[in-house]
Symmetry: C2
Subunit: 427 residues, 2 copies
C-alpha cells in the first residue's frame, strides 16, 4: 500500500467518523505512525443527513475532507480504501488497494442500516446513513411529486404523496418533522396544480413511545410537536414487509406508499476476521473491555458505535451516538501512547452530555443530565450544539446561513434532483 | 400531460436556462398560459461549473429550483420532461411524459458538448456542461491523486497526475487556472506522501490564441497569467484522438493522461422535427429572424445559444453566452404579447455588455465595450458580475462566503468524492 516503514509503531484506524477523527487528532505529534482508512474521502456529519434529504442543506456542508483534518500532521497517512478482512494472527489489514501490517488496530467503522434479514424490505426501502443515500432520498421525494402531477390514477397519486417513515428514534422523528414542514410551507407554492393537502406523513414506531432513548417527557413532547405539524404517529406497530407499494405490519394497519424510509435499526458494520468470534454481541457490536480492547486481543481496539462496552451504568453498551465515539477516541489516543510506553491505561467512563432531537422550527426536545426542556429554547440549543460539533469553519458558516435563511423565508432551496433516483414503483 | 385548458393562448418554453427563465419572468401577469419544460428541475448557472469541478463551490449553490422561480405566477406550469419531438404541423410537443399542444413554442434548449463525431474521444473524455458532469470531473480529479499514491509504475503515476484540457475558451482557461491553484495550494498539504510537483496542467488550443472571442490584450494577459500559475499552454495544436491514456494531436506532440477535459466545442441541442430542415446552420443552431422566429414559422421561436440570428454586427450569430439569451428572452416576452395582440414586434438588437474570464486569485481579464482591463480589479468585477447574475439570494450569500473563505485560506473545501466516477484507465 506504499506506506513507508517507520521506526515508530504503526496504528491503523479504520473509519473516519467521530471516533476515528477524534482519535487521530489525539495522536498528532506523538511518536507513532498513523494510517487512517475510510471508504469515503470525507467525514460525514450524520446528525444532519435528514436536512440534506429534505433540501435544507447541501451535502458538501455536512461533509469534510479527511485529508484536511490530517493536514500538517507528521507521519500521518490517509488511504481511500475498503477493508475486506483482518488477519489478526499476522496483524494484517487486507483491503481493495492492498494489504498493510499493523502494530495496533483500531476499528471505528460505525453502523449500517439493519433490515433484520428482510430482503424485500431492504430492496424497496430507502436508508439514510450516508450522503449518497440522503441524496437519493431527496431525489425520490421530489420525483414523487413530479410524478403525482402526471397520473390520473387516484390511488397511484395517493401512494406517491404518502410517506412512511419506520422508526421513532431521532432520525425518524427529525425526518418526519422536516417532511411535514415541506408539506405545509413549500408544496402548495411549488405545486399549485396538485392538491398537496393529500400528502401524508406517517411515522411508525414499534414500541409504545417515540425517542425511547430519551426521557418520558421528551417522548411525549416530541409526539405532540409532530401531531401539531400534521404527522400521523403510529405506535406499537411493527412493519413486516414492503413490496414497493404496500406496507404490511403485524397489525391490521397497512399503508400504500411509493416511499418507505427505514430508520428502524442499525447494526455494526462487520469485518471479516473479526466477525464469527464469540466476542460479537447483539447488533454485531464488538465486545470490548474498559480500555476499548476487543476481547481476546491486546492490540485490537474498537471505538464508537461498533464497540460494545458493558459498564454498570450502561449494561447494554453505550448509546450509538457521537459523544461516546468522541470520548472513546480521545481517551484511546492517550491510552495507546501509555500502552506503547509500557504504562497503565486508564479505563473509560462515559460522561453523559445529554441527548436531543429537533422536530421542526422552534420545536426540539433536550434531555441534559440535570435539566430537561422542550420548545424554542431547546431548538436553539440543538442548533448551537450541532454547529459546534460540525467540523470546519466554512461548513459552520454555510450551515448557519442556510438555517437563518430557511427560518426567515420558511424555505429550503436545495430541492434539486441532481441525480435522479431510479426506483421501480408498482403502479 | 394534465395541463388544464385555458382561455388564453398557450406558450410552451423548452429549457430553463438563462433564456427560458428570462422569458418566463417577462410573461408573468400576462394573459397567456405558460408551460416551461426542462429535463432538470433546476436552473444551472453554467459559468461557475468549473468551480464545482475543482471543489471551490458546492453544486447546490449554483443551481436554483425552477419551480421556485415560477412560484406565485398564475397560469404557469412546470414539467420535468424530456422533449422527444416537435410536430410543427399539428403544433404538438412530444415528451417522455406525454404530448402537449402549443399555440406558441419557444426553443431555449441551449448547447451540449460537441465531439465532432469522434466516438473514442467522446467515450474517454470528460465534459463539463451540466452539474452531474462537473461532479464526475471533481470525483475523477480526486480519485486520480488517490490512485497515484498507490502505484509503483512511474508512467502510470505521471499519467494520473497529468491533466489535459482541450479548448482555450473561458471554460478551458478557468478550469486550467483553478487546477493550477489546487496544485500549488492544496496538493502538497493533502498529499505529503506524493511528489505533487510532477502534476502537470496542459491547456491545448487549436487556434493561435486563448479566449478568441475576446480582445488581443485579454488573450495575451490570460496566457501570461496561466503561465505564471504553471500551466503549460499549447497553441495551434488540434487534439485528434484519446484512447483513455494517450492523447494524439495533428502535430508530433502527444500527452499521456488519465484525464482529458473536452471544452473545445459545443453544438446546439437538436430536437427531432426541428432538425433536418434547411434552417439549421452550423453547430446545429436554428436560423431565426430578428424577432427570434425560426425560419418558416410564425409561432416557433428560438432564443439563446440554440438560436442563430444574423445581424450586421454579428454575421455569424451572437456569442453563445448568458447575455444574448437573457436579452432575447426579455424581448421575446414583450414581442409575444404584442404578437398575440396583433401588434408589430420589435426587432432584436444585442447590447454588448462585454466579456470576461477569470484565471485565478487576483487574475482576470475584462473586455467592456469601451474599456479593457486585467488583473486584480478585473477579478473583483468578474466576481461582482457573477454574484449579480446568480439566481437566488441564498445562493449569492453562500457563494460569496465560499469565495471569501477560499481567498483568505487559499483553500477549497468541497474536495469530496461523493459519488465515485468509474472510469476505466488504461494502466
Amino acid at each position: 500500500m506504499n506506506i513507508p516503514q517507520s521506526s515508530h509503531p504503526r496504528i491503523i484506524i479504520i473509519g473516519g467518523g467521530f471516533g476515528g477523527i477524534s482519535l487521530a487528532k489525539k495522536l498528532a505529534g506523538q511518536e507513532v505512525q498513523v494510517v487512517l482508512m475510510d471508504k469515503h474521502n470525507y467525514h460525514t456529519f450524520q446528525p444532519l443527513l435528514y436536512q440534506v434529504s429534505t433540501g435544507g442543506l447541501e451535502p458538501d456542508s455536512i461533509a469534510y475532507p479527511i485529508r484536511k483534518v490530517l493536514q500538517g500532521y507528521d507521519n500521518f497517512y490517509f488511504r481511500l480504501a475498503e477493508v475486506n478482512q483482518i488477519e489478526t494472527d499476522k496483524r494484517i489489514v487486507k483491503t481493495n488497494i492492498g494489504d498493510l501490517k499493523y502494530d495496533y488496530l483500531v476499528v471505528a467503522v460505525g453502523t449500517e442500516t439493519n433490515f433484520f434479514g428482510n430482503k424485500t424490505l431492504q430492496q424497496n426501502s430507502m436508508a439514510m446513513k450516508t450522503i449518497p443515500q440522503a441524496l437519493n432520498l431527496r431525489s425520490l421525494i421530489l420525483e414523487n411529486f413530479e410524478q403525482a402531477l402526471l397520473t390520473d390514477d387516484y390511488h397511484e397519486r395517493e401512494a406517491l404523496m404518502n410517506f412512511v417513515i419506520v422508526g421513532g428514534g431521532p432520525t425518524g422523528v427529525e425526518l418526519a418533522g422536516a417532511l411535514a414542514e415541506i408539506k405545509k410551507g413549500i408544496l402548495p407554492k411549488d405545486y399549485p396544480d396538485l392538491d398537496t393537502r393529500r400528502a401524508q406523513i406517517n411515522l411508525v414506531q414499534g414500541g409504545d413511545r417515540l425517542l425511547p432513548a430519551m426521557s418520558e417527557i421528551a417522548s411525549k413532547k416530541a409526539e405532540d410537536f409532530l401531531e401539531k405539524l400534521g404527522v400521523n404517529v403510529w405506535k406499537n406497530i411493527r412493519v413486516t414487509g414492503y413490496d414497493g407499494r404496500l406496507v404490511t405490519t403485524d397489525t391490521e394497519t397497512s399503508f400504500e406508499t411509493a416511499t418507505l424510509v427505514w430508520a428502524a435499526g442499525v447494526k455494526a458494520v462487520s469485518i471479516k476476521g473479526l466477525d464469527a468470534k464469540n466476542f460479537v454481541t447483539r447488533c454485531n457490536r464488538l465486545k470490548i473491555n474498559r480500555f476499548n480492547q476487543v476481547e481476546g486481543f491486546d492490540n485490537v481496539f474498537a471505538i464508537g458505535d461498533v464497540a460494545h462496552m458493558e459498564t454498570e451504568a450502561f449494561p447494554n453498551g453505550h448509546p450509538m451516538m457521537a459523544q461516546p465515539a468522541i470520548q472513546q477516541g480521545r481517551l484511546l489516543g492517550k491510552n495507546l501512547i501509555r500502552l506503547i510506553a509500557g504504562k497503565q491505561m486508564e479505563p473509560f467512563t462515559y460522561k453523559d452530555k445529554g441527548n436531543m432531537a429537533t422536530i421542526g422550527r422552534n420545536k426540539a426536545v433536550c434531555d441534559l443530565p440535570n435539566f430537561k426542556f422542550q420548545g424554542v429554547f431547546a431548538w436553539f440549543v440543538w442548533m448551537f450544539v450541532h454547529l459546534y460539533f460540525l467540523i470546519g469553519f466554512r461548513n459552520r458558516v454555510v450551515v448557519f446561513i442556510n438555517w437563518v435563511y430557511n427560518y426567515i423565508r420558511f424555505d429550503r432551496e436545495a430541492r434539486l434532483i441532481i441525480r435522479p433516483y431510479k426506483k421501480e414503483f408498482k403502479a
